[in-house]
């Protein structure tokens, strides 16, 4: 099972590295998001103080939705998702492989986004790098866990481009809220680590619930 997940992940990364299409476009889109929000919220030449955390997570969410859509669009061409499902490999392993690929993609985007947001908003995002990484990782996994499942479900549906955000955003609201609160807590001048720990614990709990639920429902959702 781990072997299957690893094979799928390696394949996804290979395909992506060949063209880097999704990586570049997602990154550019996320950066545009950040700038867009910054311009919209700027007052008297200054951006809002607590805007950094929120804008960062919005950019991750919007960019993530785009990346998910494009990744599964690739599997739709040549119906390769079907070929994956035809293999005797355990279906949940395919899900895990795809999930890890998406998380890797989003993590790469975040590596660029965090310094950008820190720079634009004068936010001390890099003051507690370990905690920030924990927040970003657990939040990204939660978002991607639901997103990967829903995108895979939608591959053969009509109106799939519009339906992905419609399905994804309400469900991932707790993840976004927790992520933003945790990040905002890290940006305070005197950081309350206990508060950050609380939000990270919540994020991890959400991750466990979502991934478990996704693994459980992946098989019936993929068969016709």
């Amino acid at each position: 099972m781990i072997r299957t997940a690893w094979l799928v992940l390696k394949k996804d990364l290979t395909v992506e590295v060949r063209s880097l299409e999704i990586a570049y476009t997602t990154l550019f889109f996320a950066v545009s998001c950040v700038l867009f929000f910054a311009f919209a919220l700027v007052k008297e030449g200054k951006a809002p103080e607590d805007g950094a955390a929120g804008i960062l997570w919005i950019a991750i969410a919007f960019g993530g939705t785009l990346a998910l859509g494009r990744t599964f669009e690739r599997e739709r061409q040549s119906e390769t998702l079907r070929a994956l499902l035809m293999a005797p490999a355990a279906r949940p392993a395919i899900y895990i492989g795809k999930l890890l690929g998406i998380v890797a993609l989003l993590a790469a985007a975040e590596i660029v986004l965090v310094p950008l947001v820190a720079f634009l908003f004068q936010a001390p995002l890099l003051s507690h790098p370990f905690w920030l990484a924990a927040v970003l990782l657990s939040g990204t996994i939660g978002f991607a866990a639901v997103g990967t499942l829903f995108s895979a479900m939608l591959v053969r549906a009509r109106s799939r481009d519009v339906l992905l955000p419609v399905l994804l955003y309400p469900i991932t609201v707790p993840v976004i809220i927790a992520g933003v609160r945790a990040t905002a807590a890290l940006l305070q001048p005197d950081v309350e680590l206990a508060l950050v720990r609380f939000w990270v614990a919540l994020l991890i709990a959400l991750d466990v619930v979502f991934v478990t639920l996704a693994l459980w429902t992946f098989e019936p959702l993929m068969t016709d």
Binding site: R156, L167, P170, F210, L213
Partner: protein, 218 residues
């Protein structure tokens, strides 16, 4: 019309007609006065909203893992009722809040997660309508994730500082308030059952029609 419809509808209507009298007889609450009486409709509709989401979630799970079309019809009906009762909660709540707290809305956990749960129900309906073939399973998957939200809504007020009343309020109500409340709860539960059964009945008729069309082709 199915046989049970008229008697059940009649009972529900009578009870709803009686409820304002019980509510009027209940004592005024100390700080909020008359406005607090929205509580007698707000709370039951909130409970039915959550109940409906749970019914939808369980039916969806049974449909997804068992394939029974009856469960699918039940899930669809429950999702619609989640939207309906959620709307009632989200209207009565702010009406009360405006007078009691001075604001229409607050971004605390309970309100936010209720609104989110309501949107999940809407998303369910959108998927059923626009998802094309296979949308019944997609929606079922969504409902399962939405159901995970329900316990979160309920216990959230106990763990976060919030101006929304905590869940310890209900068990400690004085008796005459309690009577009006539980009567209203019964009303709403009956209404829920009535609408749910009616909606499932409608879907069953549709399924029968589809089967007839199919057998034409034989």
């Amino acid at each position: 019309m199915p046989k049970w419809f008229v008697p059940l509808a009649a009972v529900t209507a009578l009870m709803f007609a009686a409820s304002p009298f019980l509510i009027a007889n209940a004592p005024y609450e100390a700080t909020m006065g008359l406005v607090q009486k929205i509580f007698y409709y707000h709370l039951p509709s909130a409970w039915v909203f959550l109940l409906s989401a749970i019914v939808c979630g369980i039916a969806s799970a049974r449909f997804l893992f068992g394939g029974s079309p009856r469960q699918d019809r039940l899930a669809y009906a429950a999702a619609e009722l989640t939207v309906l009762f959620g709307a009632i909660v989200l209207v009565t709540g702010p009406l009360w809040a405006r007078k009691a707290w001075g604001v229409w809305w607050q971004w605390d956990v309970r309100l936010t997660s209720s609104l989110m749960g309501w949107m999940v129900a809407w998303a369910y309906l959108l998927v059923r309508k626009y998802g094309g073939p296979g949308s019944d399973k997609l929606a079922a998957g969504l409902a399962l994730f939405g159901m995970a939200n329900v316990p979160f809504v309920y216990i959230s007020v106990n763990y976060w500082r919030t101006i929304h009343p905590a869940t310890s309020v209900v068990p400690t109500l004085p008796v005459d308030m309690g009577v009006a409340l539980w009567f209203a709860v019964a009303c709403f539960l009956l209404l829920f059952v009535l609408l749910l059964r009616l909606r499932v009945y409608l879907e069953e008729q549709r399924a029968r029609l589809d089967a007839l069309y199919l057998s034409l082709d034989e």
